[in-house]
């Protein structure tokens, strides 16, 4: 198995795992972590498949870099919301999910 394909399969595993965690957990920090794991899996899949059996693909790397910044911004926004929600409610799960 080439290096690219190996990364792609790890990406598939991580995405699936992250998806599972995202759906099954209720604690918001866990869900955010799951989101980030799924995101990393997604990026690995993108880079791994693109770099499989060919020269390194700068386009895929640039896409992932863009994706990472977007994921960082989303995570930061989620954490800000989470902190604010915790301060008014004292809870770290969403109301109807209890």
């Amino acid at each position: 198995m080439s290096g690219g394909a190996w990364y792609a399969w790890v990406g598939v595993a991580l995405s699936t795992l992250g998806f599972f965690g995202f759906v099954v957990h209720r604690h918001l920090v866990r869900r955010l972590l799951a989101f980030n794991i799924m995101g990393s899996g997604c990026f690995l899949l993108l880079v791994g498949l693109a770099g499989d059996g060919r020269a390194i693909d700068p386009v895929a790397q640039a896409l992932v870099l863009t994706g990472i910044v977007v994921a960082v911004a989303s995570t930061a926004l989620a954490l800000v919301l989470l902190r604010r929600w915790y301060r008014v409610s004292g809870e770290s799960v969403l109301p109807e999910d209890v």
Binding site: T16, V23, V24, L49, V72, A73, L77
Partner: protein
């Protein structure tokens, strides 16, 4: 239990679909890396990834900076709605302060190097911006305040600088009769450097602001409207 089974089923479906898609993927029709290499000389950056980020697909990067700014705007507006108590971010740790004296120049040097290296080697505005942000976060933890940022206009101006420069370059290429973000070849490298410099500052500051816009409150949750909240 039902949720667990449902989640298991959903994730197995997604995983299986991904596995099938990866196994049966065809050979790509298009070879983008080849196109990038063949046109690299015409782009404003020598390093392929930087060329894709800031020239070939600069539009994506522009929008991505906007995404980061949106997060900061929301964080600022939420603080307005829910004012913070006194700042307790600093750790009472003399060691951190002492180490920061050594570390800070190194971090700044590192950020500058990453920015400069981006045109020919791995590196660039985002890496430099995040190192800058890391030094900012360490400074905050060491208890150093950023007083010059208390002026909201100044803070906003630096936050928006990257996006503003990027859009300004795009609009001026449009007004000059070229396509949006189509840098004139002679000054392409300079324009990209200017954009990257502005982006580094804005990204660094945006990440630091996101860090300090929702500070921990030692008083714990204060619950003004808990009594009014109806539990169903």
């Amino acid at each position: 239990m039902i949720r667990l089974l449902g989640a298991l089923l959903a994730c197995l479906t997604v995983g299986a679909a991904l596995a099938v898609a990866v196994l049966w993927r065809p050979l790509p029709v298009e070879d983008l890396p080849l196109r990038v290499t063949s046109r690299l000389a015409e782009a404003g950056a020598g390093h392929a990834v930087t060329a894709v980020l800031l020239d070939f697909r600069a539009y994506d990067t522009l929008l991505e900076v906007a995404v980061l700014l949106v997060a900061v705007v929301v964080a600022m507006a939420l603080r307005e709605a829910q004012p913070d108590g006194p700042d307790r971010m600093g750790l009472a740790n003399p060691l951190l302060r002492a180490v920061m004296g050594w570390l800070l120049p190194l971090l700044l040097l590192m950020a500058a190097y990453l920015l400069w290296a981006g045109s020919s080697r791995p590196g660039g505005a985002f890496q430099a911006g995040s190192v800058l942000a890391a030094s900012g976060v360490l400074l905050r933890l060491a208890g150093v305040g950023f007083n010059w940022l208390d002026n909201p206009l100044r803070l906003r101006a630096v936050l928006v600088l990257g996006l503003a420069v990027f859009v300004a370059v795009g609009v001026s290429t449009l007004i000059g009769g070229r396509q949006f973000l189509d840098y004139p070849h002679e000054i392409a490298a300079d324009l990209i450097l200017v954009i990257e410099l502005a982006l580094t500052l804005s990204i660094g500051l945006a990440l630091v602001s996101l860090f300090q816009l929702a500070p921990p409150q030692h008083t714990g949750p204060h619950l003004p409207d808990r009594r009014r909240r109806t539990r169903r």
